[in-house]
Amino acid sequence: MNEETGTRSAPGPDEAAGADAQGAAVMDAQSAAVIMQQAREQAGRELRVRRPVVFVTWGLVLLIGYGAMWLSVRGQQPYTGPAWETLLLAFLLVLAAAAITAQVVDRAASGVGGRSELQRTIFVLSLIGGFAALEIEKSAMTHAGASRPVTAMLGAAAPMLVAGMVFVATSAPAGGLNWPRLALGVWLLAVAAGGTWGGPVTALAVYALAGGGGVLAMAAIEPRLRRP
């Protein structure tokens, strides 16, 4: 270590960084401010999950997935449910979105441990547990004689109900309130609850437009809501 060597003659930002190859340069206040700014920006770029990418991905899944199902049930008399092709499409879209989300999160969270890691695990387990519980509930309702439109409505609302509740419940980590997550959670719950009143066909259109549209809108406004 030769920290006491080096220059105090106001190196530029690149110089200051370059002189640090041995980690030894002494810097002036201006250079220190530049280094702090650069380090802060780099950490923000590298360690923050790019939420707009995740919101756009899932917004499109809701819009296209529910939209396709709605187109396949529009005008059905009696109601028989979405075409299997649209259910397959929705399933594939969810798989693709999950893969994109995992990649985006992994890029930012790689090497980050501690409380955030635990929160991410709980978040994912809550989503999986919630979906599984509602699917079991749906099967139980079918077994008990519930009609197809009733179980279809529960199945259609389930993703937004579960995601909405998990978002709201996890919107206040130790670092403070996560406004985008809270707002999106409340919105999804409202859409899930409100859409069901339209019946099994209209509900799908509501979920596609209000659910998918809401998530896409969040992609646009999230950077402004993000806490500094």
Binding site: D28, A39, A43, G111, V112
Partner: protein, 101 residues
């Protein structure tokens, strides 16, 4: 006010970058040695040297988990480290303000 008032444990480019990077994590989080090395761009030897200095000052903690190929060393800012960086930032701001007057 002079630059001598800037905390010497932090006022070195590499250590300043380490402190700012760790401060960008949420409280209670840590960063693996290898990811920190990627972000800071130092050799392992240099990084260890700087981390030791910060650890001696009580600004960071390091923890090693596992052994062999699964070993993971994590680095975290202490509360004292976070406060020290805030003080450093405040002094730096005053220095820059007085220089611009």
């Amino acid at each position: 006010m002079s630059e001598e008032e800037l905390d010497p444990a932090i006022h070195v480019p590499a250590r300043l970058r380490i402190m700012v990077t760790l401060a960008s994590l949420d409280e209670g989080d840590d960063l693996s040695f290898t990811r920190l090395q990627d972000l800071i761009g130092l050799t392992p030897g240099n990084l260890i040297t700087h981390l030791r200095k910060l650890q001696d000052a009580g600004y960071i903690t390091t923890e090693k988990n596992g052994s062999g190929v699964t070993a993971r060393t994590s680095v975290a800012l202490t509360l004292g480290g976070r406060s020290a960086l805030e003080r450093y930032t405040a002094v730096l701001r005053e220095l820059l303000d007085s220089a611009s007057r």
